[in-house]
Amino acid sequence: MRSVLADRKTILILLGPALLVYTLIMLVPVLVSFGLTFFDGTALFGFDFVGFANYLQLFTDDQVWAALLFTLKYALLTTVLQVVLGYGLALIYLFLLKRSSVFIRTLVFFPVILPTVAVGILYSKLFQSAPVDGLANELLVNVGLGGVDWLGAGDTAFVVIVVMDVWRSIGFYGVLVFSGLLDIPEDIIESARIDGARGFSLFRHIVLPQTLPILFASFIFSINGTVKVFDSVFALTSGGPGSSTTPLTLYMYRTAFQFGDYGYGSTIALLLTIICLIITLFIFRSSRSDNTR
C-alpha cells in the first residue's frame, strides 16, 4: 500500500479527477467572480473595466452595512441559541429521559428533514396577522394581549426568523451533542457521583469539559450555516419588510441576478467570502490552541 501511495503518478491519478472537478466548479468561478469585481456592465452589453469603483461603492452603500449587521446579528444569536438549546436537549435526553428518549429525539429531529420552504410557509401562517390572525396572535389575543403584525416590522420579523431557524435545527444539535455525551465513560460519571458531585457541579466539572470538542464542532457547524443564511429568510420574509431582514447573501443575489449588476454583486460576494474566511481562521486558531493545551 505504501509503495502505491508513494508513487507520484498514483497520487496524481487518485487526486487528479477530484482536483480537476474542484478546480472547474469551484476555483474557476471564484476567480471569474473575483475578476468581475473590477468590471461594470451587464451580460447583454458587455463589461467595462472600472478599477476599484465597485469597492468604493461597497464602502459607501448603506444597504451593504445594514445587511452585514443583520447577518452578524442573526448568525450570533441563532448560533448561540441553536447550540445552547441543543446542548440542553442532549442533557435532557441523557439524564432525564434516559432510554425512553428515542421517541422525543425523533420528534425533535423531525423539522431538520423538512424542506426550508415548507417550514417558511408554516411559520408565515403561524405568525400571520392579516387577513386573519395566525396561531401566535390567537394565543396572544386569548390571554388578553393584542395581536402583533409579526412580519410587518423588521424587529418582530427578525424574531420570527430566529425562532424558526432555531426550531428547524435544534434537533440536529441535540443529537450531535447527545452523541458526544454518550462517549463519556459511565465510570467517570459514577466515580464523580461517589465523590459527591451532583447536579450543576457534575455538569460543570465532568460533563462540560468532556463534551468541549463536540460543543466546539457544533459551533463550527452552526456559524458556517448561519453566516450564509439565505433560504429561510427568502422563504419567510423575502428580506422584508423593506430591506430590514435582508442578509448579505440575499442582497448579493438581488444585485447580481435580479438587477443584473454582476460586478457589484461579485464585490458583495467577495465581502461575504472574506467574512467567512475570517470566521474560519478564527475558529481553526482557537481549535488548535485548544488541542495543544
Binding site: S3, V4, A6, D7, K9, T10, I13, T42, A43, L44, F45, Q128, S129, A130, P131, G147, D149, W150, L151, G152, A153, G154, S238, G239, G240, P241, G242, S243, R254, T255, F257, Q258, F259, G260, D261
Partner: protein, 433 residues
C-alpha cells in the same frame, strides 16, 4: 510492483482522455445540429405568476393555431417574474433566447433587449405577414411609451387602472362616487366610521400602494410627472413629488388600509374587497377575472369603477387612465424569420383577441367576435375604447433596483415606518445609480 501498477494505469488514463474528447465533440455537434434543424418547437418562457396567457394559447391550439402547433408544438416554461429580466438578458448574451418570452416587471430592462437588437420589430414583421392591423393602436402607443419607443412587444393584455367600488355598499349608505381627492378622503372617513375598510391594498406586494402615489402625481403634476423623473428633469425628492407620497402616507396613518396592511398579500387584499369587507380597491382591469369569477361574494353586478380622482388645483386630467399591457410577451429576433415561427405569429395575431375575449380578458389584439360581456367588463371595455390618452404607473420607467426598492418599501411608507422623504430618497438613490 510499482512499475506494474504504473503500466496498468496508463491505459485507463488514455481511455478517460478519449472519452472526455468524444464527449466534447458530441456536445459541440449537438449544439450545432440544433441551429441547423430550424425551429421544431415553439418555446415560450413565461413568468410563473402569469396564469392568463397559456389558457388562451391552448384555446388557439384547438383552433387558429392548429397547423402551426403541429409543425412546431408549443412548449411552455415558467420562471419567477422577479428573475425573468436578468435571465433573458443572460440568454440573449449567449444567443439562447426562447422563441417567445414574457417581459419582466421592468419595462426599462425589456427596452435593453430591444436596444441590443435581440427582439423582433413587430411593426415591420406584422406588416410583412399582413396582420399589422390586428393590434389596436392604443396598445401599440402604450408599448412604445413603455419600451423605449419601439413596437417590440405584443399586448397579450391591455389594462386600465382605477378604483373598483362596492355599489351596493355605496347605495346603502348614500355615498357618492368621488371626483376629487378631498371627496375621496372624506368618503374614506365615512366608510371607516361605518365599520368597513375604505381601501383594500396588498402591502406585501407594495405596488398596489405605489400605484396610488403615481395616481396622485399624474393628477397633481400632470401626465408627464414620471417621464420628467425618468429623463432627469425632476427628482422624486422634489417637494411636489414628496407631497404625493405624503398624501398616500396620510391615508395609511388614518387607518384607511385596514390593520396589518404590510402583511396582506395580493389574494387576501382582493378577497377583502370581494367579500364586502372593503368598500374600494385600486386595481387594474385584470381584476375582472376575479370579479366575474366564483369567489366574488358581492356579485359582479355590484362592482362599479371610477377613475382616480382629480387633485384640487392639479395640472392633470381625470380622464387620463393609467394603462398598461400587463406583462407582454415578445419574440426573439434570431428565430423570428423561421417559417414555423411566422406561422405561429400570424395565427396569434389573427386569433388571440377573440380567444382571450371569450375567456373574459381584454387584450391589445383586435377582437371582433360578438361576446356577451358582464356589465362591469363592458364598462371597462367601453372606457378603454373611448379613452384618448393614457398615463403609466409609478415604477414603469424605473430600473430593476428602483422598482424593487419602491415596491418593498411602500408598506413601510403607509405604516409610518418610513417618512415620505425617506421613501422618495431611497427610490431616487436607486434611480441615480
Amino acid at each position: 510492483m510499482s512499475t506494474a501498477t504504473t503500466r496498468r494505469l496508463r491505459r485507463p488514463i488514455l481511455s478517460a482522455l478519449a472519452i472526455a474528447g468524444v464527449s466534447v465533440l458530441a456536445l459541440s455537434a449537438c449544439s450545432a445540429g440544433g441551429d441547423e434543424a430550424g425551429v421544431t418547437s415553439f418555446t415560450f418562457t413565461k413568468n410563473a405568476e402569469n396564469t392568463t396567457t397559456e389558457p388562451v394559447l391552448d384555446a388557439l391550439i384547438d383552433g387558429e393555431c392548429k397547423a402551426a402547433n403541429d409543425a412546431a408544438p408549443l412548449e411552455v416554461n415558467s420562471i419567477p417574474q422577479a428573475e425573468i429580466d436578468a435571465q433573458m438578458q443572460l440568454l440573449a448574451s449567449q444567443d439562447g433566447l426562447p422563441v417567445m418570452f414574457s417581459a419582466g416587471g421592468n419595462p426599462a430592462e425589456g427596452a435593453k433587449l430591444a436596444e441590443a437588437g435581440a427582439l423582433v420589430d413587430f411593426d415591420a414583421k406584422l406588416t410583412e405577414l399582413g396582420v399589422r392591423d390586428k393590434i389596436s393602436e392604443g396598445a401599440v402607443s402604450t408599448i412604445e411609451k413603455l419600451y423605449g419607443g419601439g413596437f417590440d412587444f405584443l399586448p397579450f393584455q391591455y389594462n386600465i387602472e382605477g378604483v373598483f367600488y362596492n355599489k351596493a355598499l355605496f347605495a346603502e349608505n348614500g355615498w357618492e362616487v368621488p371626483t376629487t381627492w378631498t371627496e375621496l378622503t372624506d368618503l374614506a372617513a365615512e366608510v371607516q366610521a361605518a365599520g368597513k375598510t375604505p381601501f383594500a391594498a396588498s402591502g406585501e406586494q407594495g405596488w398596489p400602494l405605489t400605484r396610488l402615489v403615481s395616481g396622485y402625481l399624474f393628477r397633481s403634476l400632470g401626465a408627464d410627472a414620471l417621464e420628467k423623473v425618468a429623463d432627469g428633469s425632476a427628482k422624486l425628492t422634489d417637494p411636489e413629488y414628496v407631497a404625493a407620497a405624503q398624501a398616500i402616507a396620510d391615508l395609511g396613518t388614518a387607518g384607511y388600509f385596514g390593520a396589518n396592511v404590510t402583511s396582506l398579500d395580493y389574494d387576501a387584499a382582493t378577497n377583502e374587497f370581494l367579500t364586502g369587507n372593503a368598500a374600494m380597491i385600486y386595481m387594474g382591469s385584470w381584476l375582472l377575472g376575479n370579479i366575474n369569477g366564483d369567489g366574488n361574494q358581492i356579485g359582479a353586478d355590484n362592482v362599479g369603477f371610477f377613475p382616480f380622482p382629480a387633485v384640487e388645483g392639479g395640472a392633470g386630467s381625470i380622464d387620463d387612465y393609467p394603462a398598461n399591457v400587463g406583462l407582454p410577451a415578445t419574440f426573439a429576433a434570431k428565430t423570428a424569420d423561421d417559417p414555423n415561427v411566422e406561422a405561429w405569429l400570424t395565427c396569434i395575431a389573427n386569433g388571440y383577441g377573440n380567444a382571450a375575449l371569450e375567456q373574459g380578458q381584454i387584450t391589445g389584439f383586435v377582437a371582433d367576435a360578438d361576446v356577451d360581456l358582464p356589465e362591469i367588463s363592458q364598462t371597462i371595455a367601453d372606457t378603454i375604447g373611448s379613452s384618448t390618452s393614457s398615463v403609466l404607473w409609478f415604477e414603469a420607467l424605473f430600473n430593476a433596483e428602483a422598482s424593487q426598492i419602491s415596491s418593498t418599501n411602500a408598506a413601510l411608507l403607509v405604516t409610518g415606518q418610513l417618512s415620505p422623504e425617506e421613501f422618495m430618497t431611497m427610490v431616487q438613490d436607486a434611480l441615480d445609480k
